[in-house]
């Protein structure tokens, strides 16, 4: 937890933030509309005496009064999928439509891939890539369990991703939910910060820049790229955006999501970033009783 002290100057009501970080997360699932409707999923849960609560910002996200949503009929049928509430933000912001071609650059274990497929009514193509072969089996398990038939799975380093197998055509939209220092997952995993170091933050930031850069290149002009992390570190968030705004033809775009958030920051430990990174959103655990998250929306220009 000491690692979080560096964010005290950024966070109003820092005590509430610290307290929230020490509480376990509520049990949240996403309803998989490829296989059922929200109404039927709720009814199946009720038949097993499991209570649910709507989340106002997204009607497919439910809070459950069980700690083991995996042992329900709804889960056996692939109607629900355990997914942290904030992790449902980036796919909603990307808002892919049926028939589009979408790249999920860091896809495993597949919560966001399956959410993208559901938002597209399982029509079009989601290319789900991950560089880690072990995590890829979880991704494949989840896409099939949830009945996704519009996903293609690839196993490469996203920094050098090739469009060749896909007729060399750029994507309409890309989701870049990068590997990060995971500070925001402390509520799910209390040991998440045991190995924290600034060196690690800086080294993942280098990888993040490479992946986001490639995603912008692999997306059509006028297309959308959503960048997200589950960390608070500006080095992995605003600094990465500042880098691509400088290097690639793209701009930050405003977006709305009906959850409490704070804007991206433009000054951090002596560095200053492009003013437009304020359009990104920081989600802190005490604001909506969730994990920590960061999301930015970009438009590819040129």
């Amino acid at each position: 937890m000491e690692a979080l002290e560096r964010y005290e100057p950024l966070i109003e009501d820092y005590d509430a933030f610290r307290e929230a970080c020490q509480r376990p997360l509520p049990s949240v699932v996403r309803v998989n509309t490829i296989k059922t409707t929200v109404e039927r999923a709720k009814r199946a849960l009720e038949e097993q005496d499991i209570g649910w609560e709507d989340r106002e910002w997204n009607d497919t996200v439910l809070k459950l009064d069980t700690d083991s949503p995996g042992t329900t009929w709804a889960s056996f049928h692939g109607w629900i999928h355990g997914q942290e509430e904030v992790s449902a933000i980036p796919a909603e912001v990307l808002a892919p439509e049926p028939g589009e071609r979408v790249w999920d650059a860091c896809a495993a274990p597949g919560s966001k891939t399956t959410q993208l497929a559901a938002l597209m009514d399982d029509e079009g193509l989601v290319v789900a890539n991950d560089n880690n072969l072990g995590r890829l089996s979880a991704l494949r398990f989840n896409t099939e369990r949830l009945g996704v038939t519009n996903a293609a799975v690839t196993n490469t380093d996203s920094r050098n991703f090739s469009l060749k197998p896909f007729d060399s055509e750029p994507f309409d939209k890309s989701l870049v939910d990068v590997p990060c220092s995971c500070e925001g997952t402390i509520r799910k995993n209390p040991t998440a910060l045991d190995e924290w170091s600034l060196g690690h933050v800086e080294s993942v930031a280098g990888i993040q820049k490479g992946i986001l850069k490639r995603a912008i290149q692999a997306t059509k002009k006028g297309g959308t790229v959503v960048y997200s992390t589950c960390t608070f570190a500006p080095e992995e968030n605003e600094a990465v955006l500042d880098f691509v705004l400088e290097e690639e033809d793209c701009r930050m775009v405003e977006f709305d999501i009906d959850l409490e958030s704070r804007p991206g920051i433009t000054d951090w430990e002596g560095d200053s970033y492009d003013e437009s990174v304020e359009k990104a959103k920081r989600f802190y655990p005490h604001l909506n009783d969730t994990g920590g998250f960061f999301t930015a929306k970009l438009e590819v220009e040129g």
Partner: protein
Amino acid sequence: MSQKTNNGQQFDRLPETEEDREVGERATREEVVEWWDERFEIPPETFEEFTFWEKGKGKIWILHGEVSSPIRIEALGMKFLRTRQRHWKPTMNAVQRFGREASKNVVELDREQARRFARGEDQDLDWEGDWGYLVAAHELAGELEPLGVGLFLHGELQSPVPKGRQRDL
């Protein structure tokens, strides 16, 4: 005429019909769609927007849409059907996704039988219909919902639910 063989490193789109077949023993699209119709009376139109692919000998995958063939990637759509054996076998996930359209060889299990099926256990079953692969279903939230594929032999329903999909419910 020399015949091409299956290449396990890539996905090849299934030929439309027998006449288009270049790889020996590869199932055709026509055969696949007919099999689902004959076995489960799932209307062929169900698969109109889907393409079928082989990667790995006899492993048929289903994709909603198209990509160019062949394609060398890890996975494409969903594993759908196992061919190149005497009795073709659908996957559990394919039956969960498409089995709702079935009107033949669907066996309705009660809640306790469904629990056993989900645990991967075999059980005695009073079934007068065909032996072989069945759509095992139960009522959930007001409608019949497919649990997966079951194998009915000699008065017994076997549950081929894969380990990772088994649940104690």
